[in-house]
Symmetry: C2
Subunit: 598 residues, 2 copies
């Protein structure tokens, strides 16, 4: 029982060893992360189309939930840009942005994401994340960065613009461009420049002035909070809000409301696919970030328990007026660099945000939206990785196609469509690739017992025995291809009496492939050719013995291809073995002529 | 140009060599198939909820179209039971069975199937059939057989019953059972018995009386046509139609109407998924039947051209008042056994059916529906393969689960849902399986240069060098698993300074896996461990060189694992090489303790 409890509450493990040194480090990290999180949570709430305070609410209880249930010692949980974009993307077409229904639906979305993540933990479905291949995630991130930037430009320009995708946003922006509000634009551009310079040059400048590397880095992370304070001061001083600069306005003060989200079953069904996607994408991102940092200290995270941690964080968000949350990269980096030792740093950050909500929200009254938009743009553009597209395309056409399709889908239709398109295309291309495995006719290398591809090496082929090597497991995507190819090969070798299938590369024969082997056997027998196998791996042999195939297929199982030839066509084998071995040079010459190798 | 024409019209090939001997054989085969096809086409039209004559219409022009465009020399195309069931299953919920709209939709469905098949041929998408794994097809067939039998029982009993699945059909049958019409029931049961006996015992009885084997077999195939003639005679003689025995009734006489099907775009979109499924399932069935018989004569069929053949057959059906068609097993067997030499046998069959439609339809006026139902039941129950379920389950739990899910879906919901469920589950289980490849820590076999699994063999492990073998290509389904497992293994080997990945079983490294390798490299470096590779295959190496991974990962690529150890930990290697080789006996003892082998 206590072991099960320890598994469910990973915090029990580090809590027992907790000491003053850890507390000091966790406290410092929490302070810095809090200063980063205040502008970020306000900005991401705005990005999600929600009142800024909901971002703060989502940065209190969810962080405590993750502290209790999460396994990463450094992951910083809270609102995140892509999750916020997805929230806006799913809720935008359904409700008026900022309406009470819109906010209620955001809470329901957080609830559903939490339930989905916990359900996946319970059913051990974390492996579903494998569907999100790297090119899909990467394409999704880059396209999201472009889409988010386009969406935030209206705040920088001080204009209105609407649209769920680039096709709608760009014309809307261009149409309203003449209405740009100059004071807003100046604040926005200055903030962009300031944040960009802080990010790119401040650390170097500080280090050159003798500040330690880690402190300099941490100082740069406070850029957004400085921009927030400065701009609020300027707006307040010159009463720019009255001059038409859009500001955050009145933010309710006090602790988040602890109410269960309204449960509308019809709406819940409508939001479910998006909730699954938000949960999965958040999970994939969190786990990869958490693993990166865990590895640096040779710690381990447990992906299944991470589902519990993130799931409970989302539930906590749903019950305390927040928005969907996940683990974010930028704050995790800072937390790690500031020396966070345990997830308690997250709980301490929550305390910082709680204090902010209770005492400092009047400060945000005069915070310009343009500053929040600039914060988002500068942060999100780091996700835009255009080089990755070229690199991926160059490395593999299939992966490149999946990436481009995801990007096009996200930019031109919407986030859900783009990710689904990418996943579907990855799967299809993957199955297509695995459906046509490399199948080679092999012959004996003169003077050796080895067998190599006849198209790449000067080998001796037996007239009586057709040797065929398959470089892939035999399963349903390629079962019928195997039938086709073998029929073709037998058609090309009319004198063959035996066909030996070399199975060194076969890790699995599933029921479809078994059925194909049955069909191949009987078709070959009808054509006067007997099927045999060589080099069958142990587990494959074990499984074949659970069927009656081996009893009636009529051929033999040879330990090696050489043994098969010795038994079935001793003359050819003796001749080949007696021949002088061909030099390595000429072999690799032959090898170069053909792309598909070995 | 003439080569392209020859590819498009495979009939040109055999037409040039056509001779009198072939004509005689084709003619005989056509006669026998015609006698089989008359009751079958009437029955399958009834099964599809269509007027019987539409089955006859679907057996004229479609056969001629396949003769022109198909590549199988023996495949008999026409209405088929499962395709008819699917037609009823998709149209039943939309329109009143037998109404004008229902018939128009059936034509539209044939049109769409034809267009889908031709489109797949054009885009070379025949490989999409790989999604239909054997367990899914087999489960679908068995469940269809049960569902069709349940659906036909009402005709045997002379009652009404409705329902798209077993949950609806069985209660409906039981409720109306008391209304059974005794004369109909007697005719139905007698026909079932007669057909069953013809099928099981007639051939043996005839052979015992000195009739040749092939003639006896062919005689049994005429059972249905004899039942048709006998029962019609009895009904006519005793005027049983007036006594309430449901009969086919008036069948229009004359050639099929050559009209284009009505094109309703909304309905077309609604029918499209079903049309894709009908096309794919028909294609898979046809190709596997055609391949079986082509192999017997060492002929080849071209799957892509088969798409053209079947597609044009369905188009022909749509334009001549027919129903969706495909290649059927039972008639193909008969055609082959009767000695059909070329697809001209199909065209001659079409002539036979055309003559029937023009002159003999008045014969069917008094044909009892119960006889057609009995024909269907006796034919379809041969598809019910309950042993296959046990066999598949025993061979592989995953394949068995996909099969059972398909059956349950078809029986309890409907055909489309069942097949989709099966396909989704196959894919999911396949990805799940491939997502957790066998990864073994290996050590040096004493006295040799070979490396084997440390859990199965008494091998020497280096403290400094961790040797890891992956028995699967590295791609997105397992990329993250690889990260996890390597992190775990490194955690278990704190003294390790090097990790060498043995890649003999790796046929592919895709972009996701490359990204994982980057992550693994940097995490290992952070933990003070250097990554290396050994035994990388040629094509994998070629692809890796298209990225910059090899330039910066910091490790080496070794030709063999032994070479890696010699370089990285010479002392351990020398010790292991100097040790006496362990006998084969003790190795295989160790091997038996562990299920996953080598």
């Amino acid at each position: 029982m206590s072991q099960r409890l320890a598994r469910l509450l990973p915090c029990l493990e580090w809590a027992r060893q907790y000491n003053r040194d850890w507390a000091a480090k966790d406290g410092l990290a929490a302070l810095i992360v809090t200063l980063m999180l205040i502008p970020q949570s306000l900005a991401y709430a705005m990005l999600a189309g929600l009142p800024p305070v909901m971002g703060l609410y989502a940065s209190i209880l969810p962080l405590i939930a993750y502290t209790l249930f999460g396994t990463s010692r450094t992951l910083a949980v809270g609102p995140a840009a892509v999750i916020a974009l997805m929230t806006a993307s799913v809720l935008g077409p359904l409700f008026v942005t900022g309406s009470a229904e819109y906010m209620a639906a955001a809470l329901l979305l957080a609830l559903l994401s939490g339930v989905v993540l916990l359900g996946m933990a319970l059913l051990r479905l974390g492996f579903l994340a494998i569907f999100l291949s790297h090119p899909v995630i990467s394409g999704f991130m880059s396209a999201s960065a472009i889409l988010i930037t386009l969406g935030q430009l209206k705040h920088i320009l001080g204009i209105q613009a609407y649209g769920a995708n680039a096709l709608e946003l760009v014309p809307s922006l261009l149409q309203n461009l003449p209405d740009s509000h100059w004071p807003t634009l100046i604040i926005g551009v200055c903030t962009l420049l300031f944040l960009h310079l802080t990010r790119t040059s401040l650390a170097g400048w500080l280090i050159a002035r003798g500040i330690s590397h880690s402190r300099a880095t941490m100082a740069t992370r406070c850029g957004p909070v400085v921009a927030l304070l400065l701009s609020t001061g300027i707006v307040w001083t010159f009463d720019l809000a009255a001059a038409g600069v859009p500001v955050v306005g009145s933010v309710p003060q006090g602790f988040p409301p602890l109410t269960p989200p309204a449960l509308d079953p019809g709406l819940a069904m409508e939001l479910l696919p998006a909730a699954v996607l938000i949960g999965l994408i958040g999970f994939v991102e969190s786990v990869s970030v958490a693993q990166t940092f865990a590895a640096k200290r040779r710690q381990r995270i447990k992906p299944n328990q991470e589902l519990v941690g993130l799931g409970s964080a989302n539930l906590a968000a749903a019950f305390s007026g927040g928005m969907p949350v996940t683990g974010g990269l930028s704050r995790t980096v800072v937390s790690f660099e500031a020396g966070a030792q345990t997830p308690l740093a997250g709980a301490l950050t929550a305390v910082g945000i709680a204090l902010t909500v209770m005492f400092f929200t009047p400060l945000f009254q005069n915070l310009p939206n343009a500053v929040l938009a600039a914060t988002i743009i500068v942060a999100i553009l780091t996700l835009l990785d255009l080089k990755a597209i070229r690199r991926t395309w160059r490395y593999s056409r299939q992966d490149g196609a999946a990436m481009l399709a995801t990007m096009a889908g996200v930019l031109l239709v919407d986030v859900e469509f783009g990710v689904m398109l990418g996943v579907a295309l990855s799967l299809l291309l993957f199955l297509w690739r695995t459906s046509q495995p490399h199948i080679a006719v092999v012959g004996q290398l003169p003077g050796s017992e080895h067998f190599r591809n006849v198209e790449r090496f000067a080998v001796v082929e037996s007239q009586k025995v057709l040797s065929v090597r398959v470089d892939e497991s035999l399963y349903f995507p390629n079962a019928r291809y195997l039938e086709d190819r073998i029929a073709e090969l037998v058609g090309q070798h009319p004198e063959a009496e035996h066909l030996v299938l070399m199975c060194a590369g076969v890790n699995l024969i599933d029921a479809s492939a078994l059925e194909s082997l049955e069909a191949i056997t009987s078709r070959l027998q009808a054509a006067g050719v007997q099927l045999h196998f060589s080099e069958v791996k142990g587990p494959v042999m074990d499984q074949l013995q659970r069927s009656d195939f081996l009893d009636h297929f009529g051929g033999q199982i040879f330990l090696s291809q050489f043994e098969a030839l010795v038994t079935l066509d001793p003359q050819s084998t003796q001749r080949a073995s007696a021949m002088p071995r061909i030099g390595q040079g000429s072999q690799s010459m032959a090898a170069k002529e053909n792309e598909r190798a070995s």
